[in-house]
């Protein structure tokens, strides 16, 4: 929450717009921003040195947006990125869209040409508020110095409240150069207006409790909302009280410790078979802070056909969007669960009555034929599978007692799914991944943001050879910042997930999916980052330890099996239980 400045309201100082920008950010508790200077934002950069704000110079503004995003995901605080007008602003777009669809609080500051020439196609002028309209929660244009402080403060309130999201503030050059009286307290935004359609009322909760009582085969679907709401403990307490197994979405991973006896693991397209089967055979789904994305439901017509559905969600527009629910509790998850617990206490509900034991035994029995585990049990046959690599990164962190202090930032594709399957997250906010938008190139900059937010933690980048090349320029940012990030490039010479879809759905026509990469170890070396190539399974663990204990950033290029696939897999449009299993755990490539 904002700290008050010591300014006397009757004798507030007169500052320039540029100074007001930084002063307001400091007032909002910002200590780090990620940015890139340019013409229209230069007045702001000129004033930066007067304020206790650390500026991380990125190599591309997309990186700045992803870093602010990673910073927010790791810390729960609002991330801030800064760019100039025109191309600087448009380069933020992918990052803002990533934050929007995953509901991440980010405030983006962009410079803009002087208000006198707005709309004249001036040099580096672009209508960035028009462009970002659908990919921000809200945006502002400040054309006068007086606009800056109230808009920044409102931006923070909007970004953090309700369902969080990115907010952009476009500030004209003359607004930065102008000056006015600055009083942080006087420009506090109007109190937050909750969405008027929130309605988690007692009668609805009683209905939910009745559904729960009638259920013997319940499953909790835990989404990103459990982390966003800070309701991890409440969800676990709820599950333990009623003995309900918990399946998580990709963005919910880490919210529930993987080793918790009620934790099932990830659901959906590449979820483990018993998780999806449990959902399909359930008689009650309790959806907590998740939005029934197509990647977790499969074919909607056949989704959990016998289950009643209770949806606890903060965004009313998500109710009945994809899946029709029986009870909707629209509100903050933590508050809703706390209220339900109170109602149960008041009613003297019996505790410890275990009606789901048979159900949990059934699910445990289903684990027996888990195809996803096959690869772990495979003896070392000379092949290096990505699953081995990720599993070993997990084992290494676990052995070092660093599991709760290890943040993994992934890119998008096969390695992302393998990470979700084989790295067992025990602590909240330890997985940083682009879920909704699926943004390749996300991992490296997001990891930088996460490391700066949590310098005491070990941060790993797990990226494919394709996605890593999209934002590899940020290696230089790592060196300039002098931070220690471990980078694992899962290198299979393909855009792996594209190749897998081509294999499954396009007759193995590998159109444009083989990709040439530079020698990543030499590339890292050119930046002054040491690295190593790993081609054998036995080398994985020692190299991972070497990276983790190094003094500087370290890159490992894992040359893994080229034509490996992520299994199980649900084909798009298929039912959740109709998963394609691993055809054969032994995958030989043409070179063998």
């Amino acid at each position: 929450m904002p700290k008050a400045t010591k300014t006397n309201p009757n004798n507030a100082p007169t500052l320039t717009g540029a100074e007001i920008l930084w002063a307001t950010l400091v007032g909002e508790g910002v200590s780090t921003v990620f940015g890139y200077p340019g013409g229209a934002i230069l007045p702001a950069y000129d004033a930066l040195r007067k304020f206790p704000i650390h500026h991380v110079l990125v190599r591309h503004e997309q990186g700045a947006a992803h870093m602010a995003d990673g910073y927010a995901r790791a810390s729960g605080k609002t991330g801030v990125c800064v760019a100039t007008s025109g191309p600087g602003a448009t380069n933020l777009v992918t990052g803002l869209a990533t934050a929007m669809i995953d509901s991440i609080p980010v405030v983006a500051i962009t410079g803009q040409v002087s208000s006198k020439v707005l709309g004249s196609d001036a040099f580096q002028e672009i209508d960035i508020t028009g462009i970002t309209l659908p990919i921000t929660k809200h945006n502002f244009v400040a054309t006068r110095a007086e606009d800056i402080a109230p808009m920044i403060r409102e931006a923070f309130q909007i970004a953090q409240s309700g369902r969080p999201g990115p907010v952009l503030v476009d500030i004209t050059k003359d607004a930065q150069q102008g000056s006015c009286v600055y009083d942080f307290e006087a420009v506090a935004p109007a109190p937050y207006r909750p969405h008027p359609m929130l309605r988690a009322e007692t009668p609805e909760m009683v209905k939910a409790i009745e559904l729960m009582r009638a259920s013997t085969r319940p499953v909790i679907l835990a989404g990103h909302g459990i982390i966003q709401s800070g309701a991890e403990r409440e969800v676990i307490a709820f599950a333990e009280r009623h003995n309900i197994p918990i399946a998580t979405t990709l963005l919910g991973l880490g919210g529930i410790p993987a080793s918790h006896p009620l934790s099932l693991g990830m659901m959906g397209m590449h979820g483990e078979s018993w998780v999806n089967n449990a959902i399909q055979q359930s008689d009650l789904l309790l959806a907590f802070g998740m939005r029934f994305d197509d990647r977790v439901t499969g074919n909607l017509a056949t989704y959990a056909p016998n289950a009643k559905k209770i949806h606890v969600e903060i965004d009313p527009s998500e109710i009945n969007k994809n899946v029709k629910v029986d009870v909707a509790l629209i509100g903050d998850l933590k508050e809703v669960l706390t209220t339900i617990a109170k109602i149960l206490d008041e009613r003297g509900e019996p505790r410890g009555v275990d009606v789901t034991k048979q159900w949990r035994d059934e699910i445990r029995a289903m684990k027996g034929d888990a195809s996803v585990r096959d690869i772990i049990n495979l003896p070392d046959n000379g092949h290096l599978y990505a699953a081995h690599v990720i599993n070993d990164i997990w084992q290494e962190a676990k052995a070092a007692g660093r599991l709760d202090s290890t943040i993994i930032a992934t890119d998008v594709g096969q390695h992302q799914m393998w990470e979700a399957q084989y790295f067992k997250h025990e602590a909240t906010r330890t997985l940083i991944t682009s879920g909704g938008l699926g943004t390749m190139g996300f991992a490296l900059p997001a990891a930088i943001g996460a490391k700066i937010a949590c310098p005491e933690k070990d941060v790993w980048v797990i990226a494919g050879d394709g996605g890593f090349q999209m934002t590899a320029a940020e290696l230089s940012t790592i060196v300039q910042e002098g931070i220690h990030i471990n980078i694992a490039v899962i290198n299979n010479g393909f855009l792996g997930m594209v190749r897998q879809w081509q294999e499954a759905f396009y007759d193995k026509n590998y159109a444009c999916s083989p990709i040439l990469s530079p020698d990543f170890v030499i590339l890292a070396g050119a930046h002054g980052i040491p690295g190593a190539n790993v081609t054998k399974r036995a080398e994985v663990l020692p190299t991972v330890t070497k990276a983790r204990t190094a003094d500087t950033a370290f890159l490992i290029n894992f040359a893994v099996e080229k034509e490996d696939g992520v299994y199980p897999m649900i084909a798009p449009g298929a039912a959740l239980h109709e998963m394609v299993r691993r055809p054969n755990p032994l995958i030989e490539t043409a070179e063998d």
Binding site: P134, K137, H138, R163, H195, P316
Partner: protein, 202 residues
């Protein structure tokens, strides 16, 4: 079906774009949209009529509320609200000497439909009509079927206002949302006009 939303929004630049952009994103066609001032300087009032499935109303309302510039959203049906539209219709009508009968007939038609003649030119006349959309469509169809040449039509799109709170509550208590007009004795005279066309504007 047609949904009618009344939205109170901030009176600021760019608000219309945000509303329009939302409907574009949801892939919902706006049938009509009117914007104007309200009794409060800082708020504008929009009446948005859109074609969407019946069950889409909740999501549209919820999504409208997610826009920071939206203060209030109400969805109204015909029974609960007065819904009006204004139309200007320019009809070809030659000089009196050549087609006296046609002009006289037009005046009569206008009279029956409570439309006013607001402009008279040598080759045309302009009718102004306020009423429900179906009545305006009624006039247009009668003109077309009587072989008048309609030169131009300009319609404002629907504006809506919920009826007095008390009566509206009575209406709801009676559960007669759709046939509610009979519950309001002092109807405007033009409400009672005979009309062969089904009322689709609710």
């Amino acid at each position: 079906m047609l949904h009618t939303f009344i939205a109170l929004v901030d009176n600021k630049p760019g608000v219309l774009t945000r509303i329009a952009s939302l409907f574009r994103r949801l892939n919902i066609n706006i049938a009509s949209l009117t914007v104007g001032e309200t009794e409060r300087d800082d708020l504008s009032r929009m009446t948005i009529v859109c074609e969407a499935p019946e069950n889409a109303a909740h999501r549209i309302r919820a999504s409208l509320y997610k826009l920071e510039i939206v203060r209030d959203v109400d969805e109204v049906t015909r029974g609960e609200a007065v819904i009006r539209e204004l139309a200007l219709i320019k009809v070809a009508a030659g000089p009196p000497a050549s087609s006296m009968s046609s002009r006289t007939h037009l005046f009569e038609l206008a009279n029956v439909f409570r439309a006013r003649v607001v402009d008279l030119a040598p080759e045309s006349l302009m009718l102004e009509m306020t009423g429900s959309a179906s009545k305006i469509e009624g006039l247009l169809q009668v003109l077309a079927e009587s072989h008048y040449k309609i030169l131009e039509v300009s319609r404002t799109g629907r504006m809506a206002m919920r009826r007095g709170k008390h009566t509206s509550r009575v209406l709801k208590a009676l559960g007669s949302k759709d046939h509610g007009d009979a519950e309001f004795p002092p109807l405007a005279a033009d409400e009672a006009l005979p009309n062969q066309f089904a009322e689709h504007d609710a």
